[in-house]
């Protein structure tokens, strides 16, 4: 299977502020790809570039082989786009918005849209502006599913949603998109929801990429080791082995792609004495915080 999205050496600035440099990754057809990162690391910027709403300073961004800044109407029809905050035409009601969009998309299927609407406590003539954030998110999702796109780009789908709506969102994505081999590119600030959903991810830090890999590999290979040390004011610098660390009094945690023996050798080589070095299991959210840091 080919790549639906190819991002090569993308660099972008806002004024003189560097957002990211040499960002590169590919999204395979049929995969669920997560763009993860803390606030301000460039997730929405990447999505804007990908949808042609921002011209990058340098680098290439291809979607279905076309330059994302000059997408043809035919390619745009293959892409479902959820704008951060589930933005839609709030002056329309449920029926009107479905009627409006259906004229633009040849593969339009209204069934998933109305199925999703039937789960909400709303009438068909209810305006979007009179709905809750959760209900609006389902309208936005329903419209994307009805469009039947090959690629779904979902920018922070979880914004403002409670646990129930977040679950409903992921369940519907799984049912309609994953089951039909759609490609999904998703960002969210609630990482735990994506643990069993993503196939691959790229994790952004401020101005750089921390890692790009299949999510299973990330969860298997990225580890947290805890230990105690008698060194007062222990300081652990980031290096090739230690990707991140936390020290509270004499207790330390390090985050690494290395195995236990390599970590032991590494600490010893740095003259750090330690006891009770052990690996702690991590969820995706733990691993995300581990690699990006809490601050």
């Amino acid at each position: 299977m080919g790549n639906v999205v190819e991002i090569k050496n993308l660099t972008h600035y806002y004024g003189k502020k560097l957002v990211f440099e040499n960002l590169s990754f590919n999204i395979r057809e049929g995969s669920i790809f997560g763009l993860l990162g803390k606030n301000g690391t460039g997730k929405t910027t990447t999505i804007n570039i990908l949808n042609g709403f921002l011209r990058p300073k340098s680098g290439k961004c291809l979607m279905f082989g076309e330059d994302s800044y000059n997408l043809s109407p035919a390619t745009k029809a293959r892409v479902g786009f959820l704008i951060e905050g589930h933005i839609q035409y709030s002056y329309m009601n449920i029926r009107q918005i479905e009627k409006f969009y259906s004229a633009f998309y040849p593969r339009w299927k209204k069934e998933p849209y109305y199925e999703l609407m039937s789960k909400l406590a709303v009438t068909e003539d209810q305006k979007l502006s009179k709905m809750s954030c959760g209900q609006r998110s389902q309208v936005a999702l329903g419209l994307i599913l009805a469009q039947d796109p090959d690629l779904l780009i979902l920018d922070d789908y979880s914004m403002g949603l409670d646990a129930g709506y977040r679950r409903l969102f992921i369940d519907y994505l799984t049912e309609y998109a994953k089951a039909e081999n759609k490609t999904i590119f998703i960002t969210s600030h609630i990482i735990q929801d994506l643990e069993n959903f993503l196939d691959e991810c790229v994790i952004l830090d401020y101005r750089s990429v921390l890692c790009t890999m299949p999510i299973k590999d990330f969860l298997t290979n990225f580890k947290q080791f805890k230990f105690e040390s008698s060194i007062p004011d222990l300081k652990l610098e980031k290096d090739a082995v230690i990707k991140n660390s936390e020290v509270i009094k004499n207790k330390a945690a390090i985050y690494t792609f290395a195995g236990k023996e390599e970590v032991e050798r590494h600490l010893a080589s740095k003259g750090i004495n330690f006891t009770n070095l052990h690996q702690e299991a991590m969820s995706l959210e733990d691993a995300f915080i581990g690699i990006t840091g809490k601050y």
Binding site: F53, K57, P73, I83, I87, Q88, K99, F100
Partner: protein, 222 residues
């Protein structure tokens, strides 16, 4: 698909359009009843003589209503597009962005023209009912720059709204104020009779700047 876009624009601005049409209707009615009262009090010769001697434009009430009509329609049509960058939704539709923009603006201009046609026909009926034919011809020439000015105001408002760069936005506001004021500067009957084609060309030129702002919107603020 144009039909669908018309449907979207109509849903967005139908109430403001009806409101603006109603305001224009009331102003025309006001002009009519004013003239009716004047003719009841004074003889036709006196009224016509006064109008000619002092260049009293008895329909001047509508001048700035037309300016406001273009301004308000533009605000209500494009504020929802700019608010929360909703224009991205429209630009993501499977059509060329310039075509979508052109069609959205066309809907607004057609609605404005429909209001202007009502005003022009109503004022023509009033003129021909009370006054000599010369007043009817002069009314058409006097009001035409105001109608074109209203469309120009509408176009500049859109340009200013969608321009993402604040420096360019500010420059556009200054240029817009300068250009729009030209359309409303004339006092008296038919002062701009020889400038109407220049006004049409100027408005046509200003329309093209919308696409530059739309390009800047798409390109993002850099």
């Amino acid at each position: 698909m144009f039909k669908s876009l018309v449907f979207k624009e109509w849903l967005k601005i139908r109430w403001v359009f009806i409101g603006l049409a109603a305001v224009n209707f009331l102003v025309v009615m006001n002009i009519y009843f004013d003239l009716l009262n004047t003719f009841k009090v004074y003889s036709a010769n006196v009224v016509v003589g006064q109008f000619q001697a002092y260049e009293i434009v008895f329909y001047s009430n509508i001048k700035y209503i037309l300016l406001l009509t273009g301004l308000i329609l533009g605000v209500f049509q494009f504020f929802p597009e700019i608010n929360q960058t909703r224009l991205k939704l429209t630009f993501h539709l499977p059509r060329k962005e310039n075509k979508l923009m052109f069609q959205m603006v066309s809907v607004g201009v057609l609605l404005l023209i429909s209001i202007f046609l009502f005003d022009a026909v109503s004022l023509s009926i009033i003129c021909t009912k009370f006054l000599p034919r010369e007043f009817f011809e002069s009314m058409l020439i006097t009001t035409l720059p105001w109608y074109i000015g209203s469309i120009c105001t509408y176009i500049w408002l859109i340009t200013i709204f969608i321009e993402p760069n604040w420096v360019k936005k500010t420059i556009s506001i200054l240029v817009a104020v300068g250009i729009v004021s030209l359309f409303y500067a004339g006092e008296g009957y038919g002062k701009y009779a020889f400038s109407i084609w220049y006004f049409v060309l100027l408005t046509g030129f200003c329309s093209s700047i919308i696409f530059l702002s739309a390009y800047n919107f798409k390109r993002g603020i850099c």
